[in-house]
């Protein structure tokens, strides 16, 4: 990789050992991924938190504290928002997090703000103040937000992890590879949709299916749908990286910004692979994450993966207004600080709490490895995948209204 004089100096320790370490990781990473240079980045969503996983040895936890304290001694070079916090202080005991880790996380806001980091604590930066424009170079972490930014906003970000997002924030540039380069944004397989997508959850199913027939670096092109809502876009973006390859973007012909038509989506290439998504595939995809039969008892209902928008919260509140959630059933709505504030101001928060539901602020159950939600229904394929894997739950996926009916009936509806 060709470095500028400034970048070479950082690598050689001119700005201290700590930045040299991050620079060397970026150089090694870039070279391995085929980058020829570093390019400026203007929006970062960084992972900044203690590991928050039960049973880790104290030395592991301390090494994270030390790293984060060191990171926060610097000033970030561009707009940097934090990914989810990994902890909701109202659920510390329930989540089995130690007091010490909780305190570290409580103090992290101030520490991060000193470094110029915006503590949005969100998996959906585009809901809380970070909407990149078409072509803007970003370093986002949350896998669904990466897909959303590339596909729906037309911004450019490779899939980032904690270390590369921190490096991007501290250094102000990223290695140029993958979907940062226009020709690597070419569609590689066609998903021919031959059924009506009736809800954002159906879009999640389409995402889960498209991911399952994709390999890492594939860019599926969705064809045969007329329109997409923000909520639908979130669900397809969230599901697509989880069922097969590590997919960083898709196109939807006639909808997303780089796919005015099929030919443009494939950048004039011949379509080599084609897969059909009809009613049969839709039903089959739902079946993959359907441990709980209709009529089966449920314990938990989860909304807000990715974090709920005000529109989604309003839909939940409108349904629950004047109703009671079934005894023993927990309803969790996950979203960030900022959205909760608005939901409170508009009364939706109170309606949901009065009906017996509660909010998860700045994090979601799927990321709390030792929660045991039992029989869980959700409108998100990604959350269902997490609940079944990390949380050892029985799961079923269905659209919002079905999940809400289930919440008040206490049975899968």
């Amino acid at each position: 990789m060709k470095l500028t004089q400034e970048q070479q100096a950082i690598l050689e320790g001119g700005n201290g050992e700590f930045l040299a370490k991050y620079m060397s990781w970026m150089v090694d990473w870039g070279e391995f991924m085929g980058a020829k240079r570093m390019i400026p980045v203007t929006k970062v969503q960084c992972i900044l938190r203690a590991p928050l996983l039960k049973g880790l040895s104290p030395s592991t936890i301390v090494s994270y504290y030390d790293e984060i304290r060191e990171i926060c001694k610097y000033k970030v070079k561009c707009q940097t928002l934090t990914h989810t916090r990994g902890i909701d202080f109202r659920h510390v005991k329930e989540a089995g997090i130690s007091e010490e880790e909780a305190n570290f996380m409580k103090n992290l806001d101030k520490l991060a703000q000193k470094a110029g980091i915006l503590t949005a604590w969100s998996c959906t930066p585009y809901h809380v103040g970070s909407v990149p424009i078409k072509g803007e170079i970003c370093a986002w972490t949350e896998s669904s937000a990466v897909v959303y930014a590339n596909s729906i906003l037309g911004a450019k970000t490779t899939r980032h992890g904690m270390e590369s997002s921190i490096a991007a924030a501290l250094l102000g540039f990223v290695p140029e590879f993958g979907v940062l380069i226009d020709e690597n944004r070419r569609g590689t397989l066609l998903i021919d949709v031959d059924t009506l997508l009736k809800s954002p959850c159906d879009w999640g199913a389409l995402g889960f299916f498209s991911g399952s027939v994709s390999r890492t670096d594939d860019i599926p092109v969705i064809n045969g749908v007329d329109y997409m809502t923000l909520e639908s876009g979130k669900q397809i973006s969230a599901a697509i990286p989880y069922s097969g390859g590590a997919v960083a973007m898709f196109h939807a012909a006639g909808i997303t910004p780089e796919a005015p038509d099929l030919d443009t989506a494939f950048q004039g290439d011949k379509i080599k692979r084609k897969v059909k998504f009809s009613e049969k595939e839709l039903k089959k995809t739902y079946k993959i994450l359907q441990d709980i039969e209709i009529g089966g008892k449920i314990d938990t209902v989860i909304f807000g993966c990715p974090f709920a928008s005000l529109t989604e919260i309003k839909e939940i509140a409108d349904f629950l207004d004047g109703k009671k959630i079934a005894k023993g059933v927990k309803v969790w709505v996950c979203t960030s600080h900022q959205t909760i504030q608005d939901a409170k101001r508009m009364g939706y928060f109170q309606i949901i709490e009065e009906s017996g539901g509660s909010f998860f602020k700045d994090m979601c159950p799927g990321a709390m490895g030792w929660l045991r939600p039992g029989n869980t229904v959700t409108n998100s394929f990604k959350q269902a995948h997490y609940c079944r894997g990390s949380l050892k739950a029985q799961v079923s996926v269905g659209e919002t209204q079905r999940c809400l009916e289930a919440a008040v009936k206490g049975r899968w509806y």
């Binding site: 990781w25 590991p51 992890g161 390999r215 990286p241 989880y242 097969g244 997919v247 960083a248």
Partner: protein, 136 residues
């Protein structure tokens, strides 16, 4: 004995026993770095990748994967090396940061050539992976 060409490698030469899956894995949602056990959503469920050469098509899923590779390395539950058909940028990052060798090969038929417990030698200098079948 089977020899396979390495397409790309980062990290040093290693030897170890194989653990193989045709399925991609998301460490963040499917592997517990404390216990070193694979969760039930994955075909390797109940098993460990600790100190093994993990042979998979790719990693997938969460951006937390590089952080989880870090946790695995710190907790001593990391694989000895990762051999993949395609490279997920996030696990590449995790392997580089934690000095775990990561190898890309260009052999779609790898899953017919290698089985669990086969002995794998990764030789970066010569650009070759040697598979010694367990019965050899």
């Amino acid at each position: 004995m089977i020899k396979i060409n390495i397409k790309k490698i980062v990290g040093k030469n290693v030897k170890g026993k194989a653990i193989v899956s045709k399925e991609t894995i998301c460490f963040r949602s499917e592997y517990n770095p404390v216990t070193g056990i694979v969760e039930k959503t994955h075909s390797l469920k109940g098993r460990t990748v600790k100190d093994k050469v993990l042979i998979i098509p790719s990693t997938n899923g969460s951006s937390g994967n590089s952080m989880y590779i870090r946790l695995m390395a710190l907790e001593g539950t990391a694989p000895k090396a990762l051999v993949c058909l395609r490279i997920d940028a996030i696990s590449a990052l995790g392997c580089i940061v934690n000095k775990i060798p990561l190898v890309q090969i260009d052999r779609e038929d790898i899953f017919e050539l290698v089985e669990d417990e086969d002995y794998i030698e990764i030789d970066g200098e010569r650009g070759i992976i040697t598979i010694l079948k367990k019965e050899e």
